[in-house]
Structure formats: C-alpha cells, structure tokens
Symmetry: C2
Amino acid sequence: MRAEADGKLGVYNIPLREMLTYRLSRLNARLNAQAAKILKESSGLSQAQWRVMVMIDAYGPIPPAQIVRASLMDKGQLSRTIKAMAAQGLIRINDSESDHRSHLISLTDRGRTLFERARPAMQARQSQLAGTLGGDDRAAFHRVLDRLEQALDAAE
Amino acid sequence: MRAEADGKLGVYNIPLREMLTYRLSRLNARLNAQAAKILKESSGLSQAQWRVMVMIDAYGPIPPAQIVRASLMDKGQLSRTIKAMAAQGLIRINDSESDHRSHLISLTDRGRTLFERARPAMQARQSQLAGTLGGDDRAAFHRVLDRLEQALDAAE
DNA sequence: GGAAAAAGGTTGATCCGTCAACAAAAAATG
DNA sequence: CATTTTTTGTTGACGGATCAACCTTTTTCC
C-alpha cells in the first residue's frame, strides 16, 4: 500500500541511503542490536560487561586503565560498569599493591560461568559475519576501514 | 612508555582490535564525532536536525512518517526533534488537509539559512571521505555493507 | 456502516556514550 | 626533596537512541 510511496522516494534524489556514513551508522546500530540480543538471551550480560570480560579473559587480572587503553572505552562508563559487575558478583576487585589509586579486577566463578555461556554464541556470530564475506572482500573491508581512519586522523 | 605494555597486549590474543564489529563501531563513533563538530561549528545544528533538513530539502514539505520510512529514525526521537526545531524557528508545521493525524513540515527562512550554511562543509566532508577510497575500494565497501546487511536480515 | 486492525504521533522510561570537573596518588622535574 | 605534571578513578550532566504505552485517525474488511 505504501510501497508505492516508498518507491517514489528514491527516484529523483538520494539523500541518505547511499551516503556512506549513514549506511555505516545504520549497519552499526543493527549489529549492536544483534549483539545485545544474543548476550541478553544467552547470559543477560550487557555489551559493556561483555567487553570487560573479554579483556579480563585475554589479559588476566588487569587494572581498569589498561582496559581503557586497549578498548578505548570511556573511563567513566567503565567505572560504572565495573561497579555494577562487582555488585552482581561477576568480578572481584583487589586493591593494587603497587599503585594505591588503582586495583585489579578479575572474574569470579559466577562471572566466568556467564562468560562461557555467552561465548559460543558470540564467537559463532563473529565467524558467521566474517564468513559471509569472501577473503577478498574481508581484506578490502579492512583496507577501507584503515583508509577512513587515516582520513579522520588527517582531519585531526 | 606504555607502548611496550600495549604492544604485549596483542601478542597472544586479539580480543577486540581486529574484530570487525568493534572496528566498525569505533569508526562510526569517530565519524559521528566529526559530523557533530562540523555541524556545531558551521551552524549549531544537531545531527538529527541535519538529517531532518536533508529530508525536507530532498522531498519538499513532508509528513514525519515519511522521514521515518526513508531514514529509519525512531519516530519518538523524530517527534522530539521536530518539536525542538519548531521551537527554534527552523521549521514550520502545517496541518495536513487529507490526514488529520499528520502534518507537513517545511523549512523556514531561518532554517534554510542554517541549512545552507552547514551544507558546504558537510558535502566537502562526504566527498573527502569518498575520495580517500579508490573507486574499486568504494565498490567493495558497498558490496561488503550489502552482504553484512543481508546476513543480518537472514538472522532475523 | 460498524468493528477490528493498522498507521501517525506524543510521551515517559531507560540505557549508552561522551564530556567535564574533581580528588587522590604517583611520576617527573628542577 | 618540594613542586608541578600526569595518571587513575569517581561522579554528575547531557544528548542520542530504543522501547513501550497510549491516544487519535484512517483503513480494512465483513
């Protein structure tokens, strides 16, 4: 019924749909929604919590500052995420001996259980996405991302 | 100083940096920040306001529902954006004759002035970004986005 | 033509991400 | 060693995006 109206839209001008930044942001929103859904169904974790767990899993007990450096998360958001995770018993916070401003966070058993519960689905998603691209396309994609990032760097 | 620590991070595991969804989301965040900055400096518009103006410019006076269909904006957010723009005198809201639920929005002179003030910088940015990619890469990029969107569609 | 379904819009709640201000501790510098 | 600078983390504020509930009007369908 409205298909006709929608069809007409694209005819004489292409305001948004073809713009690359717009496409990127829509795609990103959809990918986020998908990840959030998978996490919620498999484990109830938020994406921020998942990211923190991935970092702990990869690097062992680490200080928040290291997560900020490696993941580019905002430190404010990270601070809140950590506090919530500790309250839920997902992570343990130990004061650092060497630096009295900081502390080391690590997964509790409960945290690890949830992490392992979410991991298969998250990995499957990642490989499914990677798998829909041929090797050539994947390489091209990374090349494009590199270029765009360089362009952003150049523009300060 | 910390280059050494960061260097070590990537050695035995690649938790975030290489994952395509992560790269996409970082790039998207940076692009958004850049657009927001350009808009703010050139015209004081928000991205949502800019998008509404682009749609009006392309399609003439239109009902909000059409913007929702064409841009995939959330109708709640759009409703608020429109209210704010009307309050700032950027757009005019006329009741629709044919549909008493709806109305038609169009740019005021003031709105058009701001739009024209922002447009050159926004277009320059768009072509600068497109220009940093070769034609081949740009085609590959669109192909990849298509594939990823299809993959998302397939996953419901 | 009347009941049910769909579409248009508004509003409120909530979450996420970013930014700025701040306090405490550590590192750098002279 | 004292002072300045940097790093770390916490907190508050704000805009953006999403979701759900709701009301009104239009469309569909019998």
